[in-house]
Amino acid sequence: MNILVCVKRVPAPGARINITEDGQAVDTAFLGFTVSPHEECAVEQAVQLVEKHGGEVTVLTLGPAEAEEQLRTAVSVGAAKAVLVPITESDWDPQRTAQAIASVITDLENANGKFDLVLFGNESADSCGYQVGIRVALKLGRPMVNGAKGLDIEGTIAKVRRESDAGQEIYMLPMPSAVGVKEGINLPRYPTMKGRLASKKVDVTRTESTGSVGGLKMIQLQRPPERVSNTQILGTGPEAASAVVDLLEELGVFK
């Protein structure tokens, strides 16, 4: 089976996210880059499915030239092919992104046949729009389920499991279909040294694409006011025990 996974290059910040002076971007001077944990899981899920059922994984990103790094990381953990849709801006709105990606997918499929599955992360780690996956699926006319915590193949059906307050929901999607994967579906592997070295040799396909500008526009980034948390030290060593018990009772932990 052929699986396409879409990922997005995002900064890997620490506890505090610094914003550039003009408020237009995250200050990435000393940050590494990554993809969202959901997307890491999507790549891992695709690789596992291919390991089990055969086929190959293609990874695709729309982003700056540097996003090649994230494509190669995916290759280093098992993706076979990589496609970069280069843009010169730092980010596109979800509608434009989805149009561009759908159009590239169509081109790829016209050349090589359909992807049985197109996987996304549940949402991107930076803008958290929850939109691109759904919009791409819609454009391609394929069923989609977001928030997947389980994904198996049964014949021509993709069986998707997701969690809800009421319990588990199971969806049976006829392939080709699209799935938005949620962190926790698996434990993604790290690249191996050999994987890393192999990923350097893969040719990244560059495919220009575009779409019309959508309605969502970034005005400025702002940092929310920092929450001040007061730490109260109840004591140290055995002397602290009774205070801890009192507090736990107060919180209703002990009944």
């Binding site: 910040p13 620490g14 506890a15 001077a29 590494g32 040294m193 890393r196 070295l197 350097k200």
Partner: protein, 847 residues
């Protein structure tokens, strides 16, 4: 938690391995009112200590680093934090195998058990290694992995428990305040603390903190890449932190160190990557910690291929954790320790690695308590060693860029820097360049080591100018040096000594001041000079220099290029603050030519004039009668005002001739012209610093003369001691009463022939002197006999070594061994004490 204090005797900034151990040591030495602060949380505030690979390979060619590393390992052992794994440096090249012979020699010197392994023997210890690509290994069973965070915590807690310390984490330094050139307070986000002493132990942040007080700690944060790969079955099965010897893959500049179930692969092979201290992210803004930056993969890729080549299993292991870890680099790859030269009582304990951390903490604590360390002489780490140009970012980056890839490199003891050359040039440089000088760097100065123009003299003195057969022995060396030596002793030579430092002290308090700093009596008549040691409070060597008395209240100190910074600091530290003495650094104003040899007097007689009572220009009388040894006279040299100082470091009649920089070239030309009829030649530092000196048994500061040794042991004690008090006097008086534990000796090599049949010539890099049965010679104070200087004595036709020996071995004619490149060569004690082997009565200098 206690309230933030407003005052403390001592504030230590930085709770890494150094700051933690420092407060522990200071507490033991009686410091009872200390505050330790760090901007990060405890126990891991986020500095370099937190991500260190924490292993110790104890062997080092440098004595200071070897002793500090061994002392540190001992402290880790005492805290139960030393996990012995053994370690193997492996060789992929024949050059590295040669280097291992040198490492065996250094291991022997410092008493470290070590042996060479065949590839098969390496494989036995490390079954997963690809021994087929290896030529051999250097195995040290005592190599260990230490817990630096826990050791630091224990040291800190020992001071806390003693009630000597308060600790404040998450406390950021905002400013350092000074008053009258002395540190006065530390301003933090928790409040302001007045402090008598402040220590900067902030690792990569040190320059930034020092700058707040107007001080300079010359280091740069630099990247060391490290990846943790695993899990790996064979490692997991050991169920231990480290069960296999640590591998240093020396020729690829990488290491492989087991860390429980995975392997840490670290590299010093990538391009040098620097970061400015101001740019290091905060704890909050860091994904991991401020000093664990994201790995730049492209830089690491070549090392991964080499690592897989060495250990196939690494290829399939997952890269779980990979960082561009920050550590501190300095322009000469040594730590930066001691009181800053700019601010009194502001101390630096920076550019320190885990392997030497606790030892350095002890050393700095002793320094702060006793006025000088006891553990070992710190001259290579002393912050005051740097000249101004060496403290610029430009210089730091250039030199660190050059030496970073030499971290695991094979560095020759005489190796020269390639970057930052031509920083300081004497006025004679154009002439020297035209004469084909090979220049060596002396803390920025370009000094001729030998001259191609003298190559023809090699044929004149064939007996002492044989080429050296082994490339290593001949590296950074030329037989021309021996030819220059012979020609100087036969006729006359001129030596560029502009790299000297000249410090002028003047004023009504000058005699009392210099008496206090110097051992020997400085109150000599105007126009005379003094050769004197400076001592530490403990009675060891702190300096060794000459002083001219130019006027009733005017003295000029002359000291060497490698000692200038440290000596300047030392004099200024003790200079009275009441204005009774002024200091002028004349080093940049004066240039110097040494003129020596049997025809030096005839040469200078032609070149010098003076003005007589009637104002007429007349020849100057340079005879010994008018101008005896040790005296100083002002003359004119072709109209150039010059000062001549009749003295010699090469054992010949002659002078150091000083003039102002701008007159230098004219003076050079005049002397060269006057000496033409005597075949005067330019002579390089190969003669001045080695061959000429060693024949005369003259000691050199930083080689024979270090704070571990006394003037009595060095053979430099005078028959009488002056009545005036001076630094180290009590200890010196005591040393004079005691039988010395070691005595400086000159030894000669009896046979240079190695097992391979090639003649070998020790370079003088701490080669151990051994008994005939190959045992180390360790004196009653625990100091080992080792070569402090080695070099040819061309006039004696012998290859000489200087070394301290115990009294039982310090017997002329006694036969011993020197180890060089892991082989023993027979040597004989040729001289005990300071009497020269060449011209023992100094007749040549005074005739």
């Amino acid at each position: 938690m206690s309230e933030f204090p407003s005052r403390a005797k001592c504030v230590v900034i930085g709770a890494g391995i150094v700051g933690n151990c420092l407060v522990g040591h200071l507490s033991k030495l009686g410091w009872t009112d200390m505050v330790l602060i760090d901007k990060g949380p405890l126990p891991n505030p986020g500095g370099s200590t937190g991500h260190a690979s924490n292993f110790i390979f104890p062997t080092d060619h440098n004595k200071e680093m070897a002793l500090l590393t061994l002392a540190s390992q001992q402290q880790y052992i005492e805290h139960g934090m030393n996990n012995t794994s053994g370690g193997i440096e492996v060789a992929r090249t024949p050059e590295r195998m040669e280097e291992f012979n040198r490492r065996m020699t250094s291991a022997k010197a410092w008493g470290i058990d070590a042996k060479l392994l065949t590839p098969a023997e390496i494989k036995e210890l490390v079954p997963f290694i690809n021994e087929k690509i290896l030529l051999g290994g250097f195995y040290t069973p005592s190599v260990s992995v230490v817990d630096s965070l826990q050791t630091g915590t224990l040291m800190r807690e020992s001071a806390l428990k003693a009630g000597h310390l308060q600790v404040f984490a998450n406390t950021e330094v905002l400013d350092l305040e000074t008053k009258n050139g002395q540190i006065s307070a530390v301003v933090t986000n928790k409040g302001r603390i007045e402090a008598e002493y402040v220590v900067i132990a902030c690792g990569v942040w040190s320059p930034r903190i020092a700058k707040m007080a107007g001080a300079n700690i010359p280091l740069t944060p630099a990247v060391h890449q490290m990846a943790d790969v695993g899990p790996i079955d064979v490692l997991q099965k050991t169920n231990a932190e480290v069960a296999f010897p640590i591998i240093r893959d020396m020729d690829t500049f990488c290491y492989e160190r087991q860390s429980t179930g995975s392997m840490e692969v670290g590299s010093y092979a990538h391009r040098a990557i620097f970061m400015h201290p101001d740019d290091i992210p905060s704890n909050e803004a860091s994904a991991l910690s401020p000093t664990e930056l994201p790995l730049t993969m492209d830089d690491f890729d070549p090392q991964m291929e080499q690592a897989i080549e060495l250990m196939e299993m690494l290829g399939d292991a997952e890269i779980k954790y990979a960082i561009n870890g920050l550590l501190s680099l300095t322009p000469d790859a040594m730590p930066v320790l001691g009181e800053t030269v700019e601010v009194k009582n502001l101390w630096s304990a920076a550019a320190v690695w885990i392997k030497e951390g606790p030892g350095i903490a002890q050393l700095v604590a002793e320094w702060m308590t006793y006025g000088y360390p006891h553990l070992c002489d710190p001259h290579s780490s002393d912050i005051s060693r740097f000249y101004p140009h060496e403290k610029t970012e430009h210089h730091i980056y250039a030199r660190c860029d050059e030496h970073f890839n030499k971290t695991y490199g094979i560095v020759h003891p005489r190796e020269q820097w390639a970057s930052q050359r031509n920083m300081r040039r004497s006025p004679f440089y154009p002439r020297e360049e035209a004469l084909g000088a090979t220049f060596f760097d002396a803390r920025g100065w370009e000094r001729p080591q030998w001259f191609a123009s003298n190559a023809k003299l090699v044929d004149k003195f064939p007996a002492v100018c044989a080429p050296r057969e082994h490339e290593w022995d001949a590296r950074w060396w030329s037989p021309i040096t021996n030819a220059e030596h012979m020609q100087m002793r036969e006729s006359v030579g001129m030596v560029d000594l502009t790299a000297f430092n000249e410090f002028d002290f003047e004023g009504p308090g000058v005699v009392n001041f210099l008496q206090y700093v110097c051992v020997n009596n400085v109150d000599v008549p105007v126009g005379r000079s003094v050769y004197t040691p400076l001592l530490t409070p403990g009675g060891g060597f702190r300096g060794d220099l000459t002083i001219m008395r130019l006027g009733q209240e005017h003295f000029r100190v002359i000291t060497g290029a490698f000692d200038g910074g440290r000596d300047k600091y030392w004099f200024k530290k003790y200079m009275p603050t009441d204005g009774s003495v002024t200091f002028t650094d004349m080093s940049q104003a004066l240039c110097t030519i040494g003129v020596w040899g049997p025809n030096a007097e005839k040469t200078m007689a032609k070149a010098t004039q003076t003005i007589d009572a009637e104002g007429k220009l007349i020849p100057f009388d340079v005879s010994q009668a008018n101008f005896p040894y040790g005296s100083v006279r002002d003359v004119l040299i072709d109209g150039v005002p010059a000062t001549m100082f009749r003295i010699s470091y090469v054992g010949e009649n002659g002078w150091e001739v000083y003039t102002r920089m701008e007159h230098g070239l004219r003076m050079w030309d005049t002397i060269a012209e006057a000496g033409k009829e005597f075949d005067i030649i330019p002579v390089g530092m190969g003669v001045y610093a080695v061959t000429g000196r060693i024949e005369k048994g003259y000691r050199l500061m930083g080689a024979e003369l270090e704070s571990e040794y006394t003037p009595v042991e060095a053979g430099l004690a005078r028959p009488k001691v002056k009545s005036a008090d001076f630094i180290g006097k009590a200890a010196y008086m005591k040393a004079r009463e005691e039988k010395p534990a070691a005595i400086m000796c000159t030894l000669e090599i009896l046979d240079h022939t190695s097992k391979s049949g090639i003649k070998r010539y020790p370079t003088g890099g701490n080669e151990p002197i051994l008994t005939k049965t190959g045992e180390r010679i360790v004196d009653a104070k625990g100091r080992v006999s080792r070569v402090t200087t080695a070099g040819m004595g061309p006039s004696l036709g012998k290859y000489l070594l200087l070394a301290y020996l115990t009294p039982e071995h310090a017997v002329e004619g006694n036969e011993l061994r020197v180890m060089y490149m892991n082989e023993l060569f027979p040597v004989k004690v040729a001289r005990v004490g300071s009497q020269p082997l060449f011209d023992p009565t100094d007749a040549r200098m005074k005739s």
